[in-house]
């Protein structure tokens, strides 16, 4: 019924109902100056105290940590991505892995740089790979997910260091560390695929998962072969 009525009306009848107030310049500018300033006030975080900003960012990072430890199919990691968490984790892991070889004087520097470069360079490669395979995820979202999923491996590194301090028998400590690192490596891979694999076409998931597997394998293996110089 409504369609018949609409077809009978002349084409531009509704246009006369539109009114333009006089103080808005009609120069092809779509945005209305009044509305834009109020929108700015709502989202501007420039005037709040620094403590508020830091606490809010820390809370966001902590929230994402929780999501990684219990990987359910949520989109919190993807929706508001940030790179603070990955940076924190990367620096922590690199500091913990420092000084773990025969010549600690000379390898102290390169160890840190090595871990840093491996993590970021590896993440970039995996992201490019998943984009080239037709993924729908954006560049920084993918970096964010891969960085956050290093959390289980960082926790494993802390536990391994404790084990190395407390347990003196070489074989027992190696077996315990192997179990811990394997478990955390599996956890990391599983967590990141839970977030990343959804953005791929279904028959190509294996192609995206393999580089992620390799990436966490290399990191996990660096943790396993870490032995502090005394």
């Amino acid at each position: 019924m409504a369609e018949v009525d609409e077809a009978n009306k002349p084409l531009f009848a509704g246009l006369s109902d539109v009114s333009i107030s006089e103080d808005i310049p009609v120069e092809g500018d779509i945005t209305v100056p009044m509305a834009s300033s109020s929108a700015d006030d709502e989202f501007s975080t420039l005037d709040e105290p620094v403590k508020d900003t830091i606490l809010r960012d820390l809370k966001a990072v902590g929230n994402k940590f929780v999501h990684v430890m219990y990987p359910k199919k949520s989109s919190a990691l993807l929706r508001d991505w940030d790179l603070w968490g990955p940076l924190l984790l990367c620096v922590t892991l690199a500091l913990l892995l420092q000084g773990g070889s025969a010549d600690s004087k000379e390898d102290g520097g390169p160890q840190f740089a090595e871990v840093f470069v491996i993590i970021w360079f590896g993440s970039v490669i995996i992201t490019l790979n998943s984009k080239l395979l037709g993924g729908t995820i954006s560049f920084f979202q993918s970096l964010c997910v891969l960085g956050y999923c290093i959390l289980p491996l960082t926790v494993a590194m802390l536990v391994c260091r404790l084990v190395l301090l407390l347990v003196s028998a070489a074989t027992a400590s190696f077996v315990v560390r192997l179990v811990i690192v394997t478990a955390s490596f599996g956890w990391s891979t599983f967590a990141s695929t839970a977030f990343l694999a959804d953005s791929q076409p279904p028959n190509r998931k294996a192609l995206v998962v393999y580089p992620v597997f390799l990436f966490y394998f290399v990191i996990g293996w660096m943790i396993l072969t870490f032995s502090p110089s005394s």
Partner: protein, 342 residues
């Protein structure tokens, strides 16, 4: 391609606007030159080129529409308002737009990963089949064999080789002074893949072989599968004789496959000999190098643990206590001498 773009003229300003031909001119020339000698018969290169061309034509058309609309309105304004600062604003506007156009063109040309997208268009089952096929030499060398031009498999194999090398380096206690373990491994593997591919492609060009750079990269990359397998086995199980056996069998099989593909695409005995001889030599020698450069240490340590006879080659890490002792003695001697002269 460039002829049609050159006819657009959006100069409506009295001072002669920016020349759009310069900015929009040569966007797709790079792609054209690359694919001029396509002899493979596969559609990967064509898809990439067509995709790129279509995208650029769309963008150019959109930008041309946008600029025509804008400059049309501005022209009318100029007539009505004269020199009331409209000119200055227009100039600034046009500069901004031209700069943005140029930057986005440069970005699209150099940072556009869509150029590589067709080369990653594979299914897992295809990758698996190609991995297995890389170890099976083909029999028919009378007509050119088809080589898949994809980059996913080779890249993953190079990274796997890097991971295996790292394992080998760490196990053997290699100490790298200037640089990092990771840097060395990545440099070695990528350098081999890209460098040797380029070299063999150059030789193929000299010998009139029908193979493109992409196919060469792909062929050599899949040949690294044999390297990965051999190194993985021998870094876990340390037997010299086992390594030589695997080197001959698995390395040999993958070399035979690559050589057969190249022979099927070359005419004449001498070119075939040159091309295949150099490829076989480089391939086998690389595997030998990877094994021996990072494996000697483990052998040395194992031998000394087993018996009193020392191996002939000692590396720096194990000599360190001696050097430290010598240094301490020297320093003490020098200090004593200094004290005496005072």
């Amino acid at each position: 391609m460039s002829a049609s773009e050159g006819n657009k003229n959006t100069n409506t300003e009295p001072w002669g606007g920016f020349d759009d031909n310069l900015i929009q001119g040569t966007g797709s020339a790079v792609i054209d030159m690359e694919n001029m000698d396509d002899t493979s018969g596969s559609s990967f290169e064509d898809m990439g080129e067509m995709h790129q061309r279509m995208k650029e034509e769309e963008e150019v058309a959109q930008e041309a529409e946008a600029t025509e609309e804008d400059t049309g309105e501005d022209g009318e304004f100029l007539g009505m308002k004269g020199l009331k600062g409209q000119l200055g604003r227009q100039v600034a506007d046009e500069v901004w737009r031209a700069g943005k156009r140029q930057a986005s063109k440069a970005f699209n040309l150099y940072a556009n990963i869509d150029i590589l997208r067709p080369y990653f268009d594979v299914e897992p089952i295809q990758v698996r089949n190609r991995l297995i096929e890389s170890l099976i030499p083909i029999r028919m060398i009378n007509f050119p064999q088809k080589v898949a031009g994809e980059l996913y498999g080779p890249m993953m194999l190079v990274f796997t080789l890097v991971a295996i090398l790292l394992h080998g380096m760490k196990t053997s206690g290699t100490v790298i002074r200037e640089g990092t373990l990771m840097g060395t491994a990545i440099g070695t593997c990528f350098g081999y893949w890209l460098g040797v591919s380029a070299f063999i492609y150059f030789l193929a060009y000299l010998c009139n072989a029908q193979i493109t750079m992409l196919q060469m990269l792909s062929l050599l990359g899949y040949g690294l599968f044999s390297h990965c397998v051999v190194l993985f086995v021998t870094y876990s199980v340390h037997f010299h004789s086992l390594f030589y056996l695997l080197w001959l069998i698995i390395g040999g099989l993958s070399t035979l496959r690559m050589v057969a593909v190249l022979i099927s695409r070359t005419v004449g005995h001498t070119p075939r000999l040159i091309l295949c001889g150099s490829l076989a030599a480089l391939h086998m020698l690389f595997l030998l190098y990877l094994h021996f450069a990072y494996h000697k240490i483990v052998e040395g340590i194992l031998d000394t643990l087993e018996g009193p006879n020392f191996p002939p080659i000692q590396r720096v890490a194990r000599d360190l206590p001696d050097i430290v002792a010598v240094m301490n003695a020297t320093v003490k001697g020098l200090a004593a001498g200094a004290m005496h002269t005072q």
